[in-house]
Symmetry: C2
Subunit: 403 residues, 2 copies
Amino acid sequence: MLIVQKYGGTSVGDLERIQNVADRVARTAKEGNDVVVVVSAMSGETNKLLGYAEHFSADPVREEVDMLLSSGERVTAALLSIALNEMGIKAESMSGRRAGIVTDTVHTRARIEHIDPAPMRRALDAGKVVVVAGFQGVDAEGRVTTLGRGGSDLSAVAIAGALGADLCEIYTDVDGIYTTDPRIEPKAKKLERISYDEMLELASLGAKVLQNRSVELAKKLDVNLVTRSSFSDAPGTLITKEENIMEKPLVSGIALDRNQARVSLSGVVDRPGIASDIFGALAENNVNIDMIIQTLGHDGTTDLDFTVPTNELVDAKKVVDAFVANNEIKEASYDENISKVSIVGVGMKSHTGVAAKAFATMAAENINIMMISTSEIKVSMVIDEKYAELAVRALHDAYELDK
Amino acid sequence: MLIVQKYGGTSVGDLERIQNVADRVARTAKEGNDVVVVVSAMSGETNKLLGYAEHFSADPVREEVDMLLSSGERVTAALLSIALNEMGIKAESMSGRRAGIVTDTVHTRARIEHIDPAPMRRALDAGKVVVVAGFQGVDAEGRVTTLGRGGSDLSAVAIAGALGADLCEIYTDVDGIYTTDPRIEPKAKKLERISYDEMLELASLGAKVLQNRSVELAKKLDVNLVTRSSFSDAPGTLITKEENIMEKPLVSGIALDRNQARVSLSGVVDRPGIASDIFGALAENNVNIDMIIQTLGHDGTTDLDFTVPTNELVDAKKVVDAFVANNEIKEASYDENISKVSIVGVGMKSHTGVAAKAFATMAAENINIMMISTSEIKVSMVIDEKYAELAVRALHDAYELDK
């Protein structure tokens, strides 16, 4: 098998941990696999370098920030390769450039445009483990770029795609994706497999492990992603395409999002285009809208409810207040004390009654559902924040996710 | 003018010092000069990284040591560029690769093979200061290499040569080359100018400032080298070709080498090729011979005296003892308590009596001269180590170097 393994900052946090990683890579190679390793900077290193930069400038030029930060991953890559060679495993470290990773020119948050896998392929063909400095590439001009938050994961997924790897393992200090947050429901179980789309909907459950950018890229490139812990041998969670999941569970997991606020507009003048004006103005001010519900009012006006991320509520208020001042909205109210609970599962596509069971569960617990939205594989409900944990546990029970 | 400035590890030893360097570079640029800056790693950084490598291996693979160490200069280059941009000076950092520095494949002590100055030229033409990570290049395969001790100086000299720079300034914590070691003779004066050849002969006087490799390269590429201090505005010493030195002093400086030992062979069998056999065997064992004196003995045998570096004396003894065992040498004796004092000056070429004055000075101080060797621009004398300082001061006085 050709396996890409990515080790994050805590997994390579000090020299002992780098040796642990070397041991794991060596084992994988000795089992007969071709291995490409993608590494992050040692934890703390990136922040140290950023601190240096801020000594000179509150807003350091981004091209140079990239040059500065890219050194951290190079150090880890070289050290890991030294450790592997010492253990008798032939290894070669590569910068992002040498690994053929070409990006656009948006420094500090560049996007990978393409990968020339030839140098990696040559090293693999020579029987070497390839150790790639993650998080970095070069633009068409040859200047070093970095990929922003979660960048090393993107490097790993893109490399796995370019090489047609069988697996892309993302090692962190968390051992996989759970049916729900184990801090809320201790009976939560680790998932063996989950589809890309479910993972994207369950983002909050994977927040500490994977960014959606990486899952989206894995889906696009058809890369089998595994999230596992570098501190144990427990198998992780495989994130793959739906076809690869034989027994499709009705519901895979319960996600909770506390960072939503509700905006309720009542008495919205019913003129053509008013909704588009309101949401257009919100978009212009970079406010992200999640759920929307429109109901016809009693007097020819409409009521409009929607949710926004809590930290964008201030901006949303400014926009809405302008419409109130123009008498196009009678009244606006805001509620930060809400939570969004979501039930996610590909099985919903072919089974009815999943949503009904959710509503019945809420009713049995006397939890009022303020808003509902559904997609092919998801049912989301907005409820009073104080019932959030109760709702998660009740739903986890109702769909027997602990079984 | 196009000026290349190189700042060593102590000159960029911490963030305040990097800001000082930025101030100096900014001043040079604002005076209307095109500036290329070559920087070392912050002092201590390279040793820290080497320590990391040694955690994993007593003899880490050299390719990876280069990958590891090359990150240090990149960090300094990026930080200096950030500081310059913040001051309103457009600047761009470049790795050795981007600066077009191509080396052979001898990792950890590579030789520069050629430089493609196009990227630096483009940046200069765009009105930018170019900040190059010193000490590094890439081999023809595209792998990072480092240049060994004094490598950043070599980078600077080679870049100055490739760009046809007017000046290559080497900044350290020493403000130039002196007529002799000021710790021995406080009246030593800083030299304004000195020729490449004199500098090479006076190596010990520049030991803390410049390695001979850099001076040789500057001579080959016809680069005007200046050594100055980054901690003062004092003008440094210009090292240039002889034609650029108008008033050629008879003697430019007095060098002292304490790390020589004398090997005296008496009763060497007088067969053809015996000297060649002895020196051949020494060369095979990597013993460097400096001075040689051969004298005809009383009984058809010869006496052979030569000097070797003190740290090679053990190896020299082994070789010589084998000849003694073969009865080709009657007796061998060794003396570590010697020093070599040298008088260097291009003026000697056209003036007689320089050597005679040296011998007279030694005689006046009752210092016995054990061995003498001369070249066009140098007179070297081996004397008892205990008279070394006295000899230096007496010669400094005799040639009026304090005037």
